[in-house]
Symmetry: C2
Subunit: 87 residues, 2 copies
């Protein structure tokens, strides 16, 4: 049991770390040309469902890592709404 | 039990769909300037650990969606190795 949780925690940390450079780049350069709001919404809904799945199964690593991913992608979506070029 | 699995399947389909545009764009434009090989490797290792976690817990939605994600990101890493600019 400890091993599975530890595995989930390490997996969650690695996948969380790998999301940050994109967010940092967008926040630094204020350039959101490469973001697709439709795909971001799809991703956010998908990850939110993973959080729900984790809650139903009482699996902490899934809940924490996907909650973090929801946050990161909400920041990306927020950045898109703020920085997109007004036509 | 059916509900949790269905939830996981829908979550997996949504997060999988949201990965495809980046891969399609890279394959179409053969432009990998925005890919970071270190972050791709971090991500691939992280997702592979999620597959392992899913196997240990016998959770099919986690196994399938993360296996798909490993494949997509291996394609991105392969594209990076093929298309990166030789200095």
């Amino acid at each position: 049991m400890i091993n599975e949780n530890l595995l989930g925690i390490i997996a969650g940390i690695l996948t969380s770390i790998s999301m940050l450079p994109q967010l940092i780049k967008v926040l630094k350069e204020k350039n959101v040309d490469d973001l697709s709001p439709v795909m971001l919404l799809t991703l956010i809904i998908g990850i939110a469902l993973w959080v729900w799945y984790g809650v139903m199964k009482s699996e902490a690593p899934i809940i924490y890592s996907n909650s973090f991913a929801v946050l990161v992608n909400l920041c990306l979506l927020g950045s898109y709404l703020i920085y997109r070029k007004k036509e």
